[in-house]
Point group: D3
Chain length 219, copies 6
């Protein structure tokens, strides 16, 4: 099985950061190949950058998907997801959608943590568009840039765990979903401090992509 | 007042078709200038074309909006709407969103008619994303291409009136919203046969854009 | 264009307060005429007063609307709105509904501020009845009477700006809607202190009423 | 226990029609006294008549409620319900709300049948305002006036049973709610032909009013 | 009228605690007979115990319902409610559902208080399953076991009143619903301190069960 | 990896029917072990049988799960799912929930087909409880018993394909979900006749269970 991990951000370092997480969780025999957007923002963070990324993601996937069995879109905004699904005959999955549905499969309502308020407002819209608003326990956010998470993962884990604790105590969250490509690898830093599962999208998307490949559910 | 009517489709004829309707309804003293997308689909009809149009629309608007007082996005999919709003400090309105909110301001629930099933599925998602699903009485569609509407407006009006009648009788629609740039001018062909108001986006968007300019509601 | 600004409250001073705001924003050539309810409460504030105002508003509008092109109902509760729409063949718009839909046309979710908790509970019901609950970011309130706002607009603006700030920071509101006839003129006192648009109903309703007159969307 | 059955319609015959049903189901020791609106429509059927009835109902109840233990509002539109509840310290219940909640207490989703399309559109709004839309299986209607039901109850029962059958088969309704003061007595004409409970508001409201009196749930 | 009060918990003392409340509010001539589950948890508090209680409740009711006119299921989780309704031809009502619908009949939105967070998460799911989420103003909880309420009713009333006050002030609750079999009798300890009605399930269920018996609404 | 396929029905033949499908799709190296409920209905079809199955399923899983890595609950009603999740520290997944979330991951809205109307009403409740009602395009049903599907799979496939076609054409379903343990193996009989993916629960649950095992998302 060959899975394309396609990063709609133009930052190759984030692509490789995600690829490490994806390869660590993928089955033996699954190959993760990568692509990084040819144009657009280094880290997509605004609605204007999202608009460009819709195009850049579709363009990138159209070029790199041939020969692979499934595609993971590696940006918090799942940029180009609906377009790529329509254009391809193989499974395409976004990391945020993957994490949200995995949370549903663990039961209860999920709490969501974003890097900053702009991202939180966009993520709320995404959850609504995915039809999952009834499963949202609560939404929290830090006030940092994505790069800050990469630069200080340990310190970020402390801040994230604080927000997670509040989502569990105040909003009765049964699981925590961390939003963003830079959250890859973060759950393992936090899980031991928290009484509910902590999820992020890349590690959810890789096994789900394998599952969809196995299912061969295409018309 | 100077309003940019920006068409994310690349077909200049549709731009001019919409411009005629916009100019007919705009106030004396309002100038309608136009732009047509530099790249993308002649008539956006798929989710893949939508992805490209997000970028093309933002690109077009960024170049043509300076010097204008408001922007109307003239495609059924309101391509680039959130991005352009974020990027500009003047009002930006999409023709579908304009028609849906106008229908709300007339009272009751609205029935919606699209040109084909793919458009209907996408339109339902848009209504949900705009938070207006509670106002939707029913959704209907023809099975034609956008070009067919332009080619045979009289015949299309008959087909649309049939669907409108069903939405009124079966779904208790209090108004009818026609979706698509090619519907500009269509309500006047149908209105006399129907007991509820018939709306399309361009003629709703032009007066609303003037209203938003007058309000000067910007932070 | 001649627009009737009809006040379901029986306080003529509030009618004139709203008329000043409406006239300031209306187009050249638009005449704002006024009417004040013949019976009912000086300032509608309870559900019992609302019940009387439904009747008083319809009665007032039936007598004063002939000869005008549109009606604005100038009370936070949009008293008599559905009834007047049904009874007349011209556009009828309530100030609260006007402000809420204008907020939608600016994008994102809106925060709402009421004068007191009773008004907040009623306003929440109204937002639900208008089908706009998915667009509500949060609801806040002061604990004052409507007359207190009129008596101390500067002090009220400070209190309102505090609540607005909380709605933006905590609930990610993209715009702020002030509820009540006495809020006419208030946004200009607050806007410079806030990073999102601040709206109230009268200044939204006047341009929207003009837009609906221009559209002539009647069956 | 003394219960006021208050009819916001001005037709005394309908008041007596409802009173017979209420007295037949009330407990021994419960006295049903009646009042009929002093002004307004003989049979409320439009939104304009509803606006007047809000006032007329509150006026009637304020005069006749003193000395009683509970109030039943006997019109399909529950006219004046929120206002009367606020104004009085005894339970106030509307016949439509009573029937809808009784249906909920029987389990499953309810199907609703109205006399005509206008009534159906208004009833849908009421169900939404009562927060019971998730419990609505389907909505159906005849195309008759309320007086037609009174004039030909046997023929009406046949038409209603046809609609009920469709709601059960197509919409999986677990119970049927008939909307309107004139439906009092109708369930007994239909029940033997249908596999799910058939309800109307007066016979639901009388026992519920007794229950609320017994509970003494007032602040 | 003979009503079975069936306790899906296996603690006979709780059965008798509820029976005292039910008998105090029931009409003269209504007999309350009791049953206690033959197997399962002393006090159902987890989802695993709920699963067993579904079976135990149906088993208990099937054996004890014959000869009675209605059944009240006396556990906060309404265990076995849908199953018993399907199996019997007499009304079956759960105490939580009874309290929630009574709150609706009093008007406005209800605030809900549970004994602990686990119960609160489960109760939220129940409210959603009953289709009443639109009526929920807010959800609060203590952090005690059910037995603690029985052991210290006075102290518990103080804690509950604090939470009720917050639900009224912060969430605009128009009534308060206490969740749990052990809350029987609690409203009378709290009501005088609170400006809105306080409800618990047993005292709501008994009069509602009588009402449903009187209605004889069965297919 | 060792996965327990636990059948809350007491019919061993259905267990083996599902096991064949699970083993056909599972990865090399995944062992599927089975269990069949010790008590309850041969084929769970009513709410009373569901109540017993909640207990029977939890009992079965508690005895057979030790030593396995994940559990699949093999009944359309996902009996005992929440209870087993709470009781165990390994992933537990129901076949209906698995199919619904897989449909979400393929994009768009799903159409659902049940064996009979009773199952359809129950399934609608389940979809609502899973928070997935916004993703439901439409619900259809045959009028057969589960055993009829097993007895005549070819004839059933024709009937199911008819319903699927209607869900696609009328309700714009982007995928079809077949509900029931007896649907295992059915998609391959239908897929070639339909333009959208056809799913059933067992073949979705096996790869998803493997994915959750790989993720190790437990607190």
């Amino acid at each position: 099985v060959k899975i394309l991990l396609a990063n709609p951000n133009t930052t190759e370092a984030i692509t490789q950061h995600m690829a490490r997480t994806a390869r660590a969780i993928a089955s033996l025999g699954t190959e993760i190949v990568t692509a990084t957007a040819a144009f657009g923002a280094p880290v997509i963070a605004t609605r204007a950058q999202m608009a460009v990324a819709e195009h850049a993601s579709l363009d990138m996937i159209s070029r790199h998907a041939p020969g692979t069995d499934a595609v993971i879109i590696g940006a918090s905004l799942d940029s180009g997801l609906a377009a790529a699904r329509e254009a391809l005959s193989i499974p395409v999955i976004g990391i945020t959608q993957a994490a949200l549905h995995t949370a549903c499969l663990l039961g209860g309502r999920f709490g969501v943590i974003c890097t900053n308020p702009t991202g939180a407002a966009i993520t709320r819209d995404m959850i609504e568009a995915y039809g999952l608003l009834p499963r949202l326990a609560g939404l929290a956010w830090l006030d940092v840039a994505a790069a800050d998470i990469l630069a200080d993962p340990e310190g970020s884990a402390v801040l994230l765990a604080d927000q997670a604790g509040a989502l569990i105590a105040r909003d009765l969250a049964s699981s925590i979903v961390l939003i963003g490509a830079v959250m890859a690898g973060m759950p393992t830093r936090m899980q031991s401090h928290l009484p509910v599962p902590v999820l992020e999208g890349v590690s959810c998307a890789a096994p789900l992509a394998e599952a969809l490949v196995r299912l061969r559910a295409t018309a």
